[in-house]
């Protein structure tokens, strides 16, 4: 049997829960517009564009090469991988590794990202913690262990209080993540207020910040292409086609469009 349920003052609902939701939401919207204003134009060089397209073409050759005749496939494979003058083998690009320290534009980008996202979160989280402290805000619908108490019940020192009752700071964090879908609805996809997506991007940021790795990318493509063989998809196409009658339904529709008459 649970302990008796706590009944919270309805004022809490009116003056704490809702304001925190509004604050989080509005801050998110402001962040979105600020990030648009601060966006620096990423200028790609011709070489980068060209290289990325070449890599795509090589990948398509590997994946869909089976749709073209064997001779054509071999011709293209030869062009890419030939020992003496294959494109992937011999093209060396000048590589400038964009480590955050040396490349100034990357540095400013990172800083801007941090300022727009992490800083407000910390500031507002702290302010909310200070303003709305000392009382319990809401209850999470699932039971939590006691370990969560110090984290979620900042400012409320009650040993016997169920860990499901959380403080305003945790409600704030819940909002930050929960309002993500609201942002997508209102600001459209790809918006600057979507913090968790940005954090995800920072983790896989290494994968995306690739310009330097063109040489490595070329080498990887070369290896992959070497291993690819040509399995012509059209070997038995006639037999497959003629195994059944053609589906001619709706070919010539019964109502002729009488636009001319």
């Amino acid at each position: 049997m649970d302990e008796p349920e706590l009944l919270l003052d309805s004022n809490i609902r009116l003056w704490v829960v809702l304001p925190i939701v509004f604050i989080t939401f509005l801050v998110g919207v402001i962040r979105h517009y600020v990030s648009i204003l601060l966006q620096s134009d990423k200028k790609l060089t011709l070489e980068q564009v060209s290289d990325s397209q070449v890599l795509i073409r090589s990948r398509i050759l590997r994946e869909n090469g089976k749709y073209i005749p064997k001779q054509s496939f071999l011709m293209r494979k030869f062009y890419f991988n030939n020992q003496e003058d294959g494109f992937l083998k011999n093209t060396k690009r000048k590589v400038v590794p964009p480590s955050p320290m040396t490349d100034p534009s990357m540095l400013t980008d990172m800083m801007k990202g941090n300022v727009t996202n992490v800083l407000p979160m910390i500031l507002i989280g702290g302010w909310i913690n200070w303003t709305f402290s000392g009382f319990v805000t809401t209850k999470v619908p699932f039971p939590l262990t006691l370990r969560f108490k110090p984290m979620l019940q900042q400012g409320i020192e009650l040993l016997s209080l169920d860990a499901s009752w959380v403080s305003s700071a945790s409600w704030y964090f819940l909002n930050v993540f929960g309002l993500r879908s609201m942002y997508s609805l209102i600001l459209g996809q790809d918006n600057g207020a979507d913090q968790s997506r940005i954090m995800q991007e920072q983790m896989s940021g290494a994968a995306i910040a690739m310009p330097a790795d063109t040489n490595k990318a070329f080498k990887a493509e070369w290896e992959a292409l070497e291993l690819t063989d040509h399995q012509w998809a059209l070997e038995g196409v006639e037999e497959e086609l003629m195994s059944r009658e053609l589906d001619l339904d709706g070919m010539f529709s019964k109502e002729l469009p009488t636009g001319i008459f």
């Binding site: 073409r57 869909n64 749709y67 054509s72 059209l234 053609l246 010539f252 002729l256």
Partner: protein, 282 residues
């Protein structure tokens, strides 16, 4: 008043649909777009700019220089210094056949932004419009060396090669397209036609296979069906084939004939209204 509002939303939605599907029904776009711009400009909000662009290109197609000029002026006012607007200005010069000026316009875009593909492609179409196909082909090849992934360009190049009767190179371009769009039956069919035109036993076999592939992807492709029949009959009729190949191809041709008959059986019932009309009018 309600009826007018409905008409307005319908017009705007139609324009959007045409824009998204890349239709080139310029006369209709000019009709609908002109009315929309003149009568309902205030209701459109920010949509109006993209409609200006769409209507301007359609106006150039229909030789409506006045309308094109108005649209261009509005866009220039709103987006001064925009490369997209510069390209539209270049297109207008092209429509007026002022090719030198248009070329200079595109060069200035490329100076600012060497990766701008739209300006490069317009320059190539200037060459095409002037009938300089050899140069156009050369420029397009250079363009494709840089931008290997541009499918529109590959298709254009294949057309240019076909016009020059250089079927081998046209086939190469179509192969690129088939790889990037393996489920598009039209590319398979065009490739098969090019191979058929090239002639020779090996190419005929390839063409038969690709006609079959096009049919597999779309059972309703009549052109591919006829192509299958013709390539199979040609192979069967050739003196160089051995008996098994001949027999197989005769079988293919027979199957194709069968399907063609089936298809036209369906339409026999539909031809009655047309026949009646013809009888009545005579």
């Amino acid at each position: 008043v309600n009826v007018l509002i409905i008409v307005f939303t319908e017009m705007r939605d139609k324009l959007r649909k045409w824009r998204e599907d890349n239709h080139r029904n310029s006369e209709q776009i000019v009709d609908v777009g002109e009315e929309l711009i003149n009568e309902h400009a205030s209701k459109l909000g920010d949509d109006i700019w993209i409609i200006y662009e769409q209507v301007m290109i359609a106006a150039l197609d229909c030789s409506r220089d006045d309308l094109a000029w108005t649209c261009l002026q509005e866009l220039k006012k709103q987006f001064p210094g925009s490369q997209r607007v510069k390209r539209l200005a270049g297109m207008r010069l092209e429509a007026l056949e002022k090719y030198e000026d248009a070329s200079k316009q595109y060069d200035s875009i490329l100076q600012d932004d060497p990766t701008n593909t739209a300006a490069r492609k317009r320059k190539i179409s200037i060459l095409k419009a002037q009938g300089k196909s050899a140069e156009a082909i050369r420029e397009l090849n250079e363009y494709l060396e840089q931008f290997v992934g541009d499918q529109e360009a590959w298709h254009e190049l294949s057309e240019l090669y076909i016009n020059e009767h250089d079927y081998g190179k046209a086939a190469f371009c179509l192969e690129e397209l088939m790889m990037t769009n393996p489920h598009n039956h039209l590319y398979c069919e065009q490739y098969a036609e090019v191979k058929y035109t090239q002639g020779g036993l090996e190419n005929l076999e390839l063409s038969r296979k690709y006609f079959a592939q096009a049919l597999k992807l779309n059972n309703g492709n009549m052109r591919a069906l006829f192509g299958l029949y013709m390539s199979a009959s040609h192979i069967a009729a050739s003196p160089k084939v051995n008996a098994t190949v001949k027999k197989a191809n005769v079988k293919y041709a027979a199957w194709a004939t069968n399907q063609i008959n089936r298809a036209y059986q369906v339409t026999k019932t539909n031809q009655l209204p047309v026949e009646e009309l013809l009888l009545r009018s005579s």
